[in-house]
């Protein structure tokens, strides 16, 4: 093994390019390649059976020379997983199960036939779609960062090298000075993707200039927003792009030690990052004397315990140091005094992954994408009441409407759109009237929400906005570190008031009190968790005040969500006495009175679960 390692270690740019050539030369682009998404989403849907099935069939039928198998990262279309794409033609099979594998081999690989039932059906046209690139979900996306996910086995560095990986690193080490790199990043307009949107180039420059012997480079992969999985998918699917970005950053800033802080709930991301680091080390792309340039940089992984607040940079650094993950005031910035009091440059996973792209293609190219103040693309995890749940990457400036309707395929079951929450739990809820809003850092801030790290939760008409505000405040009060009084005590009181409102105990003045409390929590909290925590409350009051008023004054929940404010009644005119609701009721509150006679609902027994309402096909159950 030792001999092999020294042999494979690259000690010049020339050797890197020679290796790349030999990898590409050894691959036949016209050979069948079955790519299976091995991301967490598809694995949860049963992709492992598909992977095992293909391995077995290929081996048993001796097809190794005819077809390659590649287990890739997440291509984004999680809604229809497990996903299988057959290259070079890019035939997309969706919702594939282990039992489908023999047929795919015998029909598609051997005979070249398309299997109709595994194709995606466009819900709008009803037509079947054969090729991945024709699926509407992908059409409006611009997958600069995530696009390679489906072409790379994240555990094989050669896959990344074959696609031009580490070329940007070669370029900076031998053709650019650190100052030139920083200038390039500044010119590109890249802003931090972790939430704050701070210009990355300026951060790097300040850290480079900061006084200190040791400078640390950190990758923040502590993604903790409910329903967000951008960073996870990137770390799982293309870890080398993140490493390459970090090494370039380290060289530009003058750092020799780096950390990837990743939450332990992301086992696959941890595993793939570990493998990637080992492989990069073996090739001499990480460690001492990288590519023979004389530059040293090493990366270690630190696994987080899953506290949401540890995504905040100072709390993350405290946790890295082995202390309790609590934020501190940032009057002295972390680029001056961060980890162990040394200058520290922290960027988010997605920010790092943007770096090789900018270096490779140039800042001029990069800055043509996006809006004047937000450049490049942004990855969102599109979740909630949306047809195409998944990971989407779009150019900055695309409208919310395009994301939700053209890419997301609209709202399921013909329901009406009500709001979209962007930016994670402390983002704001944006109403339908603002759907034409171009998505960038500043526009989202203007309407009371934020980019955050890219969560996007879609809500339909059956969502109660007061209940939603209560949910997010509940999440945040549990995840607040509890250090400062406004955040800890303020969020607790906010939760109490919202609970009272949703349970029919709302009083006049509650809205005003919530506003006053929000203002103080925003203004006086110690860290960004507290200062943004009121957004869900403030935006729901701003855009859905009538719902608050209905709860408080009329003791009514317009969306029919808040149990205490809802009554279910049987419409005797409409009820044919079919008995479906009688069977559905879990507490026997509905009595069957005989055929063609309306059923009777006992209000005393009713627990307001809504089962009767959901099963009745004739709208004979009224929710008030």
């Amino acid at each position: 093994m030792g001999k092999e390692q020294t042999l494979s270690r690259l000690s010049s740019l020339h050797e890197l390019e020679a290796l790349r050539k030999s990898i590409i030369g050894s691959r036949d682009p016209s050979k069948f390649c079955v790519t299976i998404c091995g991301g967490t989403g598809c694995l949860a849907l049963g992709a492992q059976d598909v992977i095992t099935g293909f391995r077995r069939e290929i081996q048993e039928q001796g097809l190794e020379t005819k077809v390659d198998l590649r287990i890739t990262g997440c291509p984004g279309f999680c809604e229809r997983g497990p996903l299988v794409v057959i290259k070079p033609e890019n035939i997309l099979y969706q919702q594939v199960g282990g039992e489908d594998v023999p047929e795919i081999i015998s029909e598609t690989i051997i005979k070249g036939n398309i299997i109709d039932r595994l194709l995606y059906i466009d819900p709008n046209t009803g037509g079947k779609i054969t090729y991945e690139h024709e699926v509407p979900f992908y059409k409006k996306q611009k997958r600069l960062i995530t696009g390679d996910n489906s072409n790379i086995d994240p555990t094989i560095i050669e896959d990344y090298l074959a696609l031009g990986g580490y070329a940007a690193l070669g370029k900076v080490l031998f053709k650019m000075t650190p100052e030139e790199i920083i200038e390039e990043i500044k010119k590109s307009g890249l802003r931090g993707r972790g939430g704050g949107g701070f210009p990355a180039g300026i951060k790097w420059e300040t850290c480079r200039r900061a006084y200190g012997d040791t400078k640390y480079i950190i990758c923040n992969c502590d993604e903790g927003d409910p329903g967000a999985f951008m960073d996870r998918s990137l770390m799982e699917g293309n870890p080398h792009s993140v490493l390459e970005g970090m090494i370039i950053g380290a060289y530009a800033i003058g750092g020799h030690e780096g950390y990837i802080y990743v939450r332990n709930e992301y086992p696959l991301a941890v595993k793939h990052a570990q493998i990637a680091i080992e492989q990069a080390k073996e090739y001499g792309l990480l460690g001492k004397n990288i590519l023979g340039s004389g530059f040293d940089f090493s990366i270690r992984i630190s696994r987080g315990g899953g506290a949401f607040v540890c995504g905040e940079s100072t709390a993350l650094m405290a946790s890295l140091e082995g202390k309790v993950g609590e934020p501190r005031a940032k009057y002295v910035h972390t680029v001056e005094k961060g980890l162990w009091e040394q200058p520290t440059n922290l960027n988010n996973v997605e920010t790092w992954a943007n770096v090789p792209l900018i270096i490779k293609n140039g800042a001029d190219w990069y800055s043509t994408i996006g809006t004047p103040n937000s450049k490049g693309t942004k990855i969102f995890s599109l979740v909630g009441k949306i047809n195409n749940t998944g990971l989407v990457e779009v150019p900055m400036g695309i409208s919310l409407k395009e994301i939700i309707y053209d890419i997301g395929g609209g709202i399921p079951r013909g329901r009406k759109f009500k709001a979209v929450q962007t930016g994670g739990p402390s983002g704001g809820c944006i109403p339908g009237s603002l759907l034409n809003l171009p998505v960038d850092f500043d526009e989202l801030n203007k309407v009371g929400s934020m980019m955050g790290s890219g969560g996007m939760i879609v809500m339909d008409e059956d969502t109660c906005m007061v209940d939603i505000a209560k949910y997010f405040i509940g999440f945040l009060q549990g995840e607040s570190c509890g250090k400062c009084i406004p955040c800890r005590e303020g969020l607790k009181r906010m939760g109490e008031i919202l609970t009272d409102i949703t349970e029919g105990r709302g009083k006049d003045g509650d809205i005003e009190l919530l506003e006053r409390l929000s203002s103080a929590i925003t203004d006086s909290s110690l860290c960004a968790l507290g200062s943004t925590a009121s957004n869900p409350v403030l935006t729901t009051i701003r855009y859905f005040r009538d719902e608050y008023e209905a709860h408080i004054r009329d003791k009514r929940c317009p969306a029919g969500v808040c149990k205490e404010l809802v009554t279910y009644l049987i419409d005797e005119e409409k009820c044919p006495g079919c008995g479906l609701c009688v069977k559905a009721c879990p507490v026997e509150a509905i009595t069957f009175m005989g055929k063609r006679k309306p059923v009777v609902l006992d209000q005393e027994k009713c627990i307001k679960c809504g089962s009767c309402y959901d099963v009745c096909k004739l709208d004979a159950v009224i929710r008030k």
């Binding site: 009057y331 995840e479 509890g482 250090k483 409390l517 103080a520 909290s525 110690l526």
Partner: protein, 239 residues
């Protein structure tokens, strides 16, 4: 020396001092609960917020943490600060409605009653006791446990702390008197919001008075390398 203006008054302060320290040096009042000059500032109570003008915008900063800068303009009593302080006091008054210190401070800052449901705590979780125990005493017998609204000040596992020497520094610095210390006969009792501990007191060889916890005296003997009989007599009976 750095020159800055606090509420329009020009004051001078050593470089590296905080706005709060500079203000107190010059008899300018800024309320605070979690600050103590002997320990690292923490910035948790947020009562010492002041408004500074920087880079063309007004910001609120915790004066116990923000260091003085040349030409800095500081306001300690703007409407924005007063509104924030009042809300913080309302929150504290709801948390500790029966605490005299909180009641008095609330009244002083213009808060007569709170808009929120009343609890019955004495501790505001400012962490002063913990910082003193760690930084001054050096034993770290107590800490803040749990997260968010469940946060508490406690000994490990809420049990009698092996590390505690019974010195009572925590009770001494507690701004709301949430920690009680009493000497009863040959015992010292320290009562914290989540735990009660008792310590044996040492008897003076000469006058027979019980005067300090044995554990504390043993700790000092070891720490400063004194003779083992250094504390056989109480301070009054030493020559």
């Amino acid at each position: 020396m750095v020159t800055l203006a606090i509420d329009g008054r020009e004051v001078q302060a050593e470089e590296g001092t905080t706005i709060l320290e500079a203000a107190r040096e010059n008899n300018i009042y800024i309320p605070s609960l979690c600050y103590h000059e002997e320990v690292t500032p923490y910035g948790a109570c947020r009562l010492c917020l002041v408004e500074i003008a920087k880079d063309g915008r007004q910001r609120l900063v915790a004066s116990c943490l923000y260091q003085v800068e040349e030409g800095l303009m500081v306001k300690t009593n703007s409407e924005r600060i007063i509104d924030n302080r009042k809300m913080i006091m309302e929150l504290l008054l709801a948390r500790c409605p029966n605490n005299k210190v909180i009641q008095d401070l609330a009244r002083q800052l213009g808060v007569e009653k709170t808009s929120f449901k009343l609890e019955d705590n004495q501790c505001i979780l400012c962490g002063l006791c913990i910082r003193v125990c760690q930084e001054v005493v050096g034993v770290s017998a107590i800490s803040l446990v749990n997260r968010g609204v469940d946060r508490e000040m406690a000994t490990p596992f809420y049990e009698h702390s092996e590390a505690c020497i019974g010195c009572g520094s925590c009770a001494y610095v507690c701004p709301t008197n949430a920690i009680k210390m009493e000497d009863i006969g040959d015992k010292r009792r320290i009562t914290m919001p989540t735990c009660q501990m008792e310590f044996k007191l040492k008897q003076c060889n000469t006058c027979g008075k019980y005067w300090a916890p044995e554990k504390q005296l043993d700790y000092i003997v070891e720490k400063v390398d004194l003779a083992s009989d250094a504390f056989d007599n109480c301070p009054d009976c030493r020559d």
